[in-house]
């Protein structure tokens, strides 16, 4: 079965034996984009979070057949070392990761949140970021999420002043 989609701005067609195969497996094992992590495999921990058409999706429970024609963004497509996404920049500034395994999922979930709410409150964060971190870096992540919002909003303001 062939499935076509755009991933990180690039058109891709993959051949899979089963359209129900989780998108996560395709992203990691076929496309070799290993930034997206396999955590629990039960859509519980959020380590596999990526974006589909701008929304956060747990890719371990998302059948690849549903990705036909969609736009997918993984952590590799969020920003670059030269031009990091505000979330990546904030994560670096606040030295968030400990072991780091869950962080791509948190960062993708955060980027999706900032797309919807530019300046999230603590309550917004509580309701929308339900990922799990076994190192318990939650306090630093909360600071980084607020910082990412500051960076994104200041960048947007600057762009509006100097389009």
């Amino acid at each position: 079965m062939k499935i076509s989609f755009n991933i990180n701005g690039k058109a891709q067609t993959v051949e899979v034996p089963d359209g129900d195969m989780p998108l996560l497996w395709v992203v990691r094992d076929i496309l070799n984009l290993t930034g997206t992590k396999f955590g629990c495999g039960k859509a519980a921990c959020g380590a596999c979070t990526l974006h589909i058409d701008g929304d956060a999706i747990r890719s371990c429970s998302y059948a690849v057949k549903f990705a036909e024609g969609k736009n997918i963004t993984t952590i590799e497509g969020l920003g670059t070392p030269e031009n990091p996404h505000p979330v990546q920049q904030a994560w670096i500034e606040k030295v968030v990761p400990q072991c780091g395994y869950c962080q791509p999922g948190f960062m993708m979930a955060t980027a999706a949140l900032l797309n919807k709410i530019s300046d999230p409150t603590d309550e917004d964060i509580d309701n929308n970021i339900l990922n799990i971190c076994r190192c318990a870096t939650y306090t630093r992540m909360r600071k980084a999420i607020h910082r990412a919002a500051e960076i994104a909003n200041s960048t947007n303001s600057a762009q509006q002043l100097n389009p």
Partner: protein
């Protein structure tokens, strides 16, 4: 993002140790006096089986399904979706949100798609969401559920015709008979009567006036 409580003060640790000791004591007593417990469980199971066998009228059959956890889990009375055969609160603090679909960046379909996912054990069906808060059935008796079902103020303004359509054709309702496997790979429990029997019972109940018995 809600920080799990994993750290305890010494006082909390002392209390935890006391509770563990107390629980262990109760466990040991239960083990050595388990005959009554087994009997009680046996009686409950027999009663449950009898209830299924006693589903004689269309009303009985319809309500046996609507009060099953496959339905009730998504008709909560506290804005907290439920999961599993024991109807425990949805893991990780997932809540109703403003539109019954969760929150802007953590929606039901962040995890739940249009079909069950057999690899992850995550259930799915079209328009996966909670029933609106006005349709909260959790904790109600079957008579109260029936009254709420027929009350247009609590059923989304649905007429009897629309209710028949919802109950017999909505893929999210009919998902109850194809619930797939859970995250341990075990089949989820289905409602106590077959889908065709339920559909027939719904139509018969409405055709005969959707009468709600006194008890």
């Amino acid at each position: 993002m809600r920080v799990p409580r994993v750290h305890q003060t010494p006082i909390q640790m002392k209390r935890t140790i006391s509770l563990i000791g107390l629980s262990l004591g109760i466990f040991i007593v239960s083990v050595f006096a388990n005959e009554p417990t087994q009997k009680a469980e046996g009686i409950q199971m027999d009663t449950k089986q009898q209830k299924v066998e006693e589903l004689k009228t269309p009303f009985d059959k319809v309500m046996a399904v609507l009060t099953h956890q496959r339905c009730i889990n998504c008709h909560p009375s506290d804005n907290v979706p439920k999961q599993g055969e024991d109807s425990h609160p949805h893991h990780f603090g997932m809540l109703r949100g403003k539109d019954d679909h969760g929150f802007v960046a953590m929606k039901c379909n962040t995890c739940h798609q249009d079909e069950n996912n057999k690899y992850a054990g995550v259930p799915g069906a079209p328009h996966w969401a909670l029933a609106p808060a006005s349709m909260a059935w959790e904790g109600m008796s079957r008579i109260e559920v029936a009254q709420a079902l027929l009350d247009e103020e609590h059923n989304g303004g649905r007429s009897h015709e629309e209710l028949i359509h919802h109950l017999t054709e909505d893929p999210l309702v009919l998902w109850a008979w194809e619930p797939g496997v859970n995250n341990e790979g075990e089949e989820r429990e289905k409602p106590p009567i077959a889908k065709d029997e339920f559909i027939k019972a719904v139509k018969e109940w409405f055709e005969t006036g959707a009468v709600i018995p006194e008890k």
